[in-house]
Symmetry: C2
Subunit: 145 residues, 2 copies
């Protein structure tokens, strides 16, 4: 249980409506941008290899993602969204962003920055919903732990 926490909360709420666990929802969001290899996903989601294998297994079993051969490396696979997965991801993402946008409604930019720092793990270093960002920031100040 090393999920990012606040996004996880929101994911949990959004996900319930789509039959997704927070972890699966997060995986879908990451894959919306493009397919990823398992190592990439593991690094992004901060999961051990075997944990990720399990997550992808379950999500694949739900018909939301599929494993494809990697054309550049026969050892590797690319994990991609299925058509169904794309649909669910879009709905989930939209719902999640809506909920997250409501969250810091009354927070000043400084407070957002403070929370972003404190909750650095909330935001992944990629195209996943980025919150607590000022419009001119290029990326979150993610703190590795």
């Amino acid at each position: 249980m090393r999920s990012s926490f606040l996004v996880n909360a929101v994911y949990a709420e959004s996900g319930r409506e789509h039959g997704l666990t927070p972890q699966q929802g997060q995986l879908l969001c990451v894959l919306m941008a493009r397919p990823h290899g398992m190592s990439e996903l593991g690094a992004m989601l901060k999961l051990a290899k075997s944990s990720l294998t399990g997550l992808v297994d379950r999500t694949e079993r739900n018909g939301l993602v599929r494993r494809e051969p990697d054309p550049h490396d026969a050892r590797a696979v690319q994990v991609a969204l299925t058509a169904q997965g794309s649909k669910v991801a879009r709905e989930f993402y939209t719902e999640t962003c809506r909920r997250i946008e409501e969250l810091p409604g009354s927070l000043s930019p400084a407070d957002r920055g403070t929370l972003a720092d404190l909750l650095g793990r909330v935001v992944l270093d990629n195209e996943v919903p980025v919150v607590f960002l000022e419009p001119d920031e290029g990326g979150p100040a993610a703190r590795e732990h």
Copy 2:
């Protein structure tokens, strides 16, 4: 996985230092005030009966709590901290409060209220560390889900 989220995050960090999972840490904090019956704990921690049994089992196995007969009801037990559990709880609680106090450092009272509303589940309706409170409030505006 229906923990309260932000406190859970902080619990996780504090707990790691004491070999506690967030759930176990939370249980200890609840029990600091006084022993509780399982039904009480279940309601407070919002856990199904069997889930709570498991949590208490594991925490008991770690020597941190013990089950005692309830003098008023032979069906029931009271869950109490052991001496070791009290010690760990105190340290954990202190550490957790410290971390939580650092959290909203730059939040205005209005923002605290907003976050308290949004993260209502963060705070339990009892003597567990109460955060985001104005000094003159009697209790958190907990939102049941």
